[in-house]
C-alpha cells in the first residue's frame, strides 16, 4: 500500500468542520463537526428543528454557513455554486420528492446525468455526431440504472402519474445517474408505509454495497436509521448531541432526554 492509499483509507470522504448557521438572531447550527468515511451509511437524526435540514442544505450549497467549513476529499465545497456540487460527486434526493413532473421517467434520469455530460446549443440543434455518440453512451448508462432500480416498465411514463413509492425510486435513479460518491438522502422514509420502509432500507444498503456509494441519511424514522446506519450523529437545537454506533447513540442519556424529555422537566 502506498502512502496515498493509506492516507485515503483514513482521511474522511466528507468532513463537516465546526459549521454554524445563523438566520437573523437564530442559531440554526452551532459548531457541528463530524466525518464521513468511504462506504459508510451515516444516519443524521434529531427531533424537529434540530438543524438536520439546515445541515443538509449546507451540504447541497443552498445555505452558506456563517462559519466553519465542509471538505469533500480534503477540498472545501463552500466556494462552489449549487449547480457545481453534482460534478464533484455529491448527489441528493429531496424530502417530498422534487422530480420534473412533466418529464418521463427516462428524461428525469437523463437530467440526472447532466453534470457528467457536455454539449452546447448549436451542436445540440444540429445533432452533430459527437452529440449523438454522447447521448447513446448516456442512454446506455441510464437504462442500466433503470434496470437496476426496476424502473424499465415505466421508463416512458410521465412521473406525475406514478405512485409515491415509485417516484422515490425515480429520484434515486436520477441521483445515481450522476455517478455520486456520496448520496445525501433527505428523509427518504417520509410518506412510506411500514413495509415500504424496510424495502427502502434494503435498497439503500444494496446501493452502498453494489455501487460503493457513501450515504448520508437524514431521517426521522428511528427504525430505519438504527437498522441500516453504521454510524449515527444526533443533533438537537443546532448542536451535536451524540455520535457513535446506533447502539451507543440509542443508549445515550442526552439523546433519550431529547426525544422523550426527562423526569425533572
Amino acid at each position: 500500500m502506498t502512502q496515498a492509499q493509506v492516507a485515503q483509507g483514513h482521511a474522511p470522504l466528507l468532513a463537516v468542520r465546526d459549521v454554524s448557521v445563523v438566520f437573523g438572531g437564530i442559531i440554526a447550527l452551532n459548531g457541528v463537526s463530524f466525518d464521513m468515511r468511504k462506504g459508510q451509511i451515516l444516519g443524521l437524526i434529531g427531533p424537529n428543528g434540530a438543524g438536520k435540514t439546515t445541515l443538509f442544505n449546507c451540504l447541497s450549497r443552498l445555505y452558506q454557513p456563517s462559519s466553519g467549513d465542509i471538505l469533500m476529499e480534503g477540498v472545501s465545497i463552500l466556494t462552489r455554486p449549487p449547480h457545481r456540487i453534482a460534478e464533484i460527486g455529491i448527489g441528493r434526493t429531496f424530502q417530498n420528492v422534487a422530480l420534473f413532473p412533466n418529464l418521463s421517467v427516462l428524461d428525469n434520469v437523463r437530467v440526472g446525468a447532466h453534470a457528467r455530460t457536455s454539449s452546447d446549443i448549436v451542436s445540440d440543434s444540429l445533432r452533430l455526431a459527437w452529440v449523438r455518440r454522447g447521448e447513446a453512451a448516456m442512454n446506455e448508462k441510464v437504462h442500466e440504472i433503470l434496470g437496476y432500480l426496476d424502473l424499465e416498465d415505466v421508463a416512458h411514463t410521465t412521473v406525475s402519474g406514478l405512485p409515491f413509492g415509485t417516484q422515490k425510486r425515480v429520484e434515486l435513479a436520477r441521483a445515481l445517474a450522476a455517478d455520486p460518491k456520496i448520496l445525501l438522502l433527505d428523509e427518504p422514509a417520509g410518506g412510506l408505509n411500514h413495509e415500504e420502509v424496510y424495502v427502502l432500507g434494503d435498497l439503500i444498503r444494496k446501493i452502498r454495497d453494489d455501487r460503493h456509494i457513501t450515504v448520508l441519511l437524514v431521517e426521522h424514522h428511528m427504525g430505519l436509521v438504527m437498522s441500516i446506519a453504521d454510524h449515527v450523529v444526533a443533533l438537537n437545537f443546532g448542536r451535536k448531541l451524540a455520535e457513535g454506533t446506533p447502539a451507543q447513540v440509542q443508549a445515550d442519556p442526552d439523546v433519550i432526554k431529547a426525544y422523550l424529555g426527562s423526569k425533572d422537566q
Binding site: A86, N102, D107, D124, S125
Partner: protein
C-alpha cells in the same frame, strides 16, 4: 412563479401524452409538408403571400413556445425582438446593399445577443413579473425606433421600404412564390433544429428548470445560463422571423411592431398548445385568419366576434391544438380497433 407554473401544469394535465409529446409522427409530418409544398401551385399570389406570413408568424410563435413551453419563462416582449430582426434586415438591405438571404443570419445573431442580454435582468423575475418586464420592452420598442438619433438608419416614423427579391437563377416563378418557398425552407430548417434542441441535453435542461429549478440545479444544471440561453434562442428565431417579415411585407415602420403583435404571438402559442411545437403553425393560422373571419361575420363588431371565437376556443379546447391532436389520435386508435 405561480402563473408560469399554472400554465405548465395545465398543459401537462392532458393525460396520455404520446411519447413524441413535442412533435408529430412521420406520417403526419409528411402530409403537412406535402400540403405546404403543393398548395401555392394552385392558389393566387395574395393567398401565397398570406401563407408566407403564416410561416413567418409560425416561426415567431415557435420561438415563444421554446421559451415558455420549454423553459417556463413568460414573454410579452416578442414584438421587440421581431422588430429588431425586421430592422436589421431592412437596414442591411437598403443601406448596406446586402443580399436579403444573408441579412437573416445577422438578424438572428443580433437578436440572440439582445435576448441573451435581456435574459440577465429577467433572471431575477418569474411568472407575471417577468411578463410585465417583457411587456415594458414591447412598449418601449416602437418609440426607440422613432428616435431622431437613429433616424438616418431607421427612417424614423416613416420607416423603410424594402425591395422584394426576384426568384434566383431565372426560375419561372413569381416573387411571392419564390419568397414563400424560401421562407418554407428556412422554417423547416428551424423547426427541425428546434425539435433537436428540445430533445437534447440542453432541451432537457430547459424543461428541468421549468419543472423544478432547485432540483435542476442540484443535478448540475446552470439555471441562470440555461434561462438566458432560452431567451437568446427564442429572440434569435423571432429575429429571423422579423427579417423574413420585413422582406415579405416590403416595409418596416415602428407602429408595425407594437404590443399588439406581442399579444397576438402569445395568443398564437396558447391556441396552438403551450409546449407543443407543431401547434405553432395552428396558432399562427388563428392569429392571421380568425380576425378576417370575424370581419366577414360583422364588419362593425369584428373585435367582439373575434373575442367570442377566442373565448370558444379557450373554453372548448383549453390546451389548444395539441388537445385536438390528442383527441383525433385517440379517435383514430378506436376506429382502428373496431
Amino acid at each position: 412563479m405561480s402563473a408560469a407554473e399554472e400554465v405548465v401544469t395545465e398543459a401537462a394535465a392532458v393525460e396520455a401524452v404520446p411519447k413524441r409529446a413535442m412533435t408529430l409522427g412521420y406520417g403526419t409530418s409528411l402530409v403537412v409538408l406535402a400540403a405546404l409544398i403543393l398548395t401555392p401551385l394552385f392558389v393566387k399570389n395574395f393567398i401565397i403571400f398570406q401563407m408566407t406570413m403564416l410561416l413567418i408568424y409560425g416561426l415567431a410563435v415557435l420561438a415563444l413556445n421554446i421559451l415558455t413551453g420549454g423553459s417556463g419563462q413568460f414573454s410579452l416582449g416578442q414584438s421587440a425582438f421581431y422588430a429588431v430582426g425586421a430592422y436589421t434586415s431592412a437596414i442591411l438591405m437598403e443601406h448596406a446593399g446586402m443580399n436579403y438571404a444573408l441579412t437573416l443570419p445577422v438578424a438572428g445573431l443580433i437578436c440572440f445577443g439582445f435576448g441573451f442580454l435581456f435574459g440577465q435582468p429577467a433572471l431575477r423575475l418569474s411568472g407575471v413579473y417577468l411578463a410585465l418586464a417583457t411587456f415594458a420592452l414591447a412598449t418601449a420598442m416602437p418609440q426607440l425606433l422613432k428616435l431622431g438619433y437613429f433616424e438616418h438608419w431607421t427612417g424614423g416614423v416613416q420607416g423603410l421600404v424594402v425591395t422584394k427579391p426576384d426568384a434566383p437563377f431565372g426560375l419561372p416563378m413569381s416573387q411571392d412564390m419564390w419568397l414563400y418557398y424560401f421562407t418554407l425552407a428556412i422554417t423547416i430548417a428551424i423547426y427541425i433544429a428546434s425539435v433537436n434542441l428540445l430533445r437534447s441535453r440542453s432541451g432537457r435542461a430547459f424543461m428541468a428548470i421549468r419543472d423544478n429549478e432547485i432540483a435542476a440545479s442540484a443535478m448540475g444544471v446552470d439555471v441562470a445560463l440555461y434561462k438566458t440561453l432560452a431567451f437568446g434562442v427564442s429572440a434569435g428565431i423571432t429575429g429571423v422571423a422579423g427579417g423574413l417579415g420585413a422582406i415579405a411585407v416590403q416595409f418596416v415602420a415602428p407602429d408595425g411592431y407594437t404590443i399588439t403583435l406581442a399579444i397576438s404571438l402569445f395568443l398564437g402559442m396558447v391556441v396552438g398548445g403551450v409546449g407543443w411545437l407543431p401547434g405553432s403553425i395552428v396558432g399562427s393560422a388563428f392569429i392571421i385568419f380568425v380576425p378576417n373571419i370575424a370581419e366577414g361575420i360583422s364588419k362593425g363588431l369584428s373585435g367582439a366576434v373575434f373575442g367570442v371565437l377566442l373565448f370558444l376556443v379557450i373554453f372548448l379546447v383549453p390546451h389548444g391544438a395539441r388537445q385536438v391532436a390528442i383527441i383525433a389520435q385517440q379517435l383514430i386508435g378506436k376506429l382502428k380497433k373496431n
